[in-house]
């Protein structure tokens, strides 16, 4: 008879203290949700709400139904800015992943002295303020007497001095280049981190079986670091679709010449804060948000199902 009581007594005590202490858990996490509701969730709801309204920032906003959405469907400038954004992203993401994978292969299969130094050097541009980077490259390139043009002239390159910012193709290419310059080191560092989880004995086994270094890299390393690559591709896409600072400071806030580097973020900024069409600006945000969410989800699913097929 005594036995069950004796067993229950010591049990009760920790249980009660667990409940009491777990309330503190909620207390500890509460600040996140208070601040997130105000500065995270409210702007999201408010942006969506505004996409259905007309608001000039002064008079009260009023509802206009889906008018903003029908307008954006026929807005050639929006389509142009979307194409610019995607093109600039592709123009830097493809070489970014190419160079990063090459560097990862080099660092994995050759003994390089000063690996940490190279990693740090390649990563440095990623930390620098994007507006400073944009202005810096503008100063280096713009004008017949810019340092780059002086260098090209001294090297007797035909066509020098080049008017970089008169040409749509060159300006767009330069935005891609600057983005590549800022991000290839980051991509390299993250992929390298992914490869450290690959078991070294798998390489040895492949070598014993007579696989060459490139074969080992393509057939063993790449499939194993696929999750890292998918993560990088999706975050790079999300970031790339919001591109703003670099084209704005490298060119100007209209994305000249001829709106060649006008990105969606620049267009929504101009619509809101230059033309005071906050409602339409919010609509651009919502459409881009849907595109980003849809594409990211699709990419994630596609990679997942492909993985499944490999396993079968």
């Amino acid at each position: 008879m005594i036995q069950p009581d004796a067993r229950q007594l010591p049990r009760k005590k920790p249980r009660r203290s667990t409940l009491a202490k777990d309330r503190y858990g909620l207390l500890f996490i509460a600040p996140f949700f208070v601040v997130f509701l105000i500065f995270g969730l409210y702007p999201i709801i408010s942006t969506f709400q505004l996409s259905l309204q007309k608001w000039d920032g002064m008079m009260p906003a009023f509802s206009i139904g889906l008018k903003n959405y029908t307008r954006i469907l026929g807005d050639q400038v929006f389509y142009l800015s979307l194409w610019n954004t995607i093109r600039i992203w592709l123009g830097n993401a493809i070489p970014q992943f190419g160079i990063a994978l090459l560097l990862v292969a080099v660092f994995t299969f050759s003994k390089i002295h000063g690996k940490n130094f190279y990693r740090a050097m390649f990563y440095l541009p990623n930390l620098i303020t994007a507006t400073s980077v944009g202005l810096l490259f503008n100063l280096l390139l713009d004008g017949d007497n810019s340092p780059i043009n002086q260098l090209l002239t001294a090297l007797n390159i035909s066509g020098a001095p080049i008017s970089f910012f008169q040409s749509k193709v060159l300006t767009s290419g330069l935005v891609s280049f600057v983005q590549w310059w800022m991000w290839f080191g980051y991509t390299t560092v993250i992929i390298l981190a992914g490869t450290t989880t690959v078991d070294k004995s798998m390489y040895e086994a492949a070598m014993v079986d007579g696989a060459s270094k490139p074969q080992t890299f393509w057939r063993i390393t790449l499939p194993l670091i696929k999750p890292t690559l998918v993560y990088l591709a999706i975050t790079s896409f999300i970031g790339g679709m919001q591109l703003f600072d670099v084209p704005l400071t490298l060119s100007n806030n209209l994305g000249d010449p001829g709106k060649a580097v006008l990105t969606v973020s620049m267009y929504l900024y101009n619509q809101g804060f230059k033309n005071f069409n906050y409602g339409y600006s919010a609509t651009i945000s919502c459409v881009l948000f849907l595109l980003i969410a849809g594409m990211s989800g699709f990419a994630y699913k596609a990679m997942r199902s492909k993985d499944g097929m490999y396993k079968l």
């Binding site: 390089i112 740090a120 704005l248």
Partner: protein, 275 residues
């Protein structure tokens, strides 16, 4: 024979690495070198060595716009923001790592989703919020969100789960230490290296933030460094030396942080991605 071909490829690898290193370093070198040359020298030739016009450039730079004002403004935002991300990030991560409560998984899912939200796309709503709260021309909209930094929470939760055992918390609890006391005196000191790593990242992110300050801050004397830099071309026109000097000043804090903490930064990136 085998050795020979290996040497060739080693050479081309070495050349590639040197080329990329130069590509990363030379633009910064040009900035620092040109910031000490007069505008005339800059448009006449490609300068390889520092010049002697740094004081003249400085005077020109300051006479047109007070760069240090922007510098101080950026510090006034960045330092409290960074401290908030570190302290509250650790506290929230501790709450998720070591306590059990209802809807914990749902709440943590919200944290993870908020990490992936493209924040620049809600900028109109953010602007309206700041108007409603009468917080335009205030630094609070950039400082307070530091409390809810999802990436820091995610990263530190992993560290707490790995490095803080339950007995480390139970012992002081039995001795009557308060729950906040346990967090402040035991948990926080133990995970300080991780907190510091995240703080470096958050410092850099806050220092570099552009679109938010550009929209919310309308009075010129409140402009942060990136906002000032983006307006320099219009202000300095052809004073190239002054422009290079201003860029150099905007870049130096990050360079200093990186010179001291590059190992922490890259290790932080690395551990963050392994999880």
């Amino acid at each position: 024979m085998k050795h020979h071909s290996f040497h060739l490829s080693a050479l081309s690898i070495r050349l590639l690495l040197i080329f990329l290193t130069l590509l990363c370093a030379v633009p910064f070198l040009v900035v620092f070198i040109n910031s000490s040359h007069s505008s005339l020298e800059i448009i006449q030739k490609f300068n390889l060595l520092p010049g002697d016009s740094v004081t003249d450039n400085y005077k020109t730079m300051q006479s047109l716009v007070d760069i240090w004002r922007g510098f101080v403004n950026s510090i006034v935002i960045t330092v409290p923001y960074t401290i908030l991300t570190g302290y509250f990030g650790a506290m929230i991560a501790y709450g998720f790592a070591k306590f059990n409560f209802r809807f914990k998984n749902v709440l943590y899912a919200i944290v993870l989703v908020s990490m992936m939200l493209p924040s620049q796309l809600t900028i109109i709503g953010f602007y309206r919020l700041c108007l409603n709260l009468h917080m335009t021309n205030s630094y609070l909209p950039f400082i307070i969100p530091g409390i809810a930094n999802a990436t820091t929470v995610f990263f530190l939760r992993g560290i707490i789960e790995q490095s803080i055992s339950d007995s480390m918390i139970e012992a002081p609890r039995i001795e009557g230490c308060s729950e906040f006391g346990i967090f402040n005196r035991i948990v926080l000191p133990c995970i300080m290296p991780g907190v510091a790593t995240m703080c470096i990242f958050n410092f850099v992110a806050s220092w570099n933030a552009y679109m938010g300050p550009l929209i919310i801050l309308q009075r010129k004397e409140l402009y942060t460094m990136p906002v000032m830099i983006s307006m320099i071309k219009g202000l300095y026109v052809t004073n190239y030396g002054a422009m290079y000097l201003a860029i150099a000043i905007s870049v130096i804090p990050i360079m200093v942080v990186f010179a001291f903490f590059s190992r922490y930064i890259i290790d932080g990136l690395t551990t963050g991605s392994e999880k």
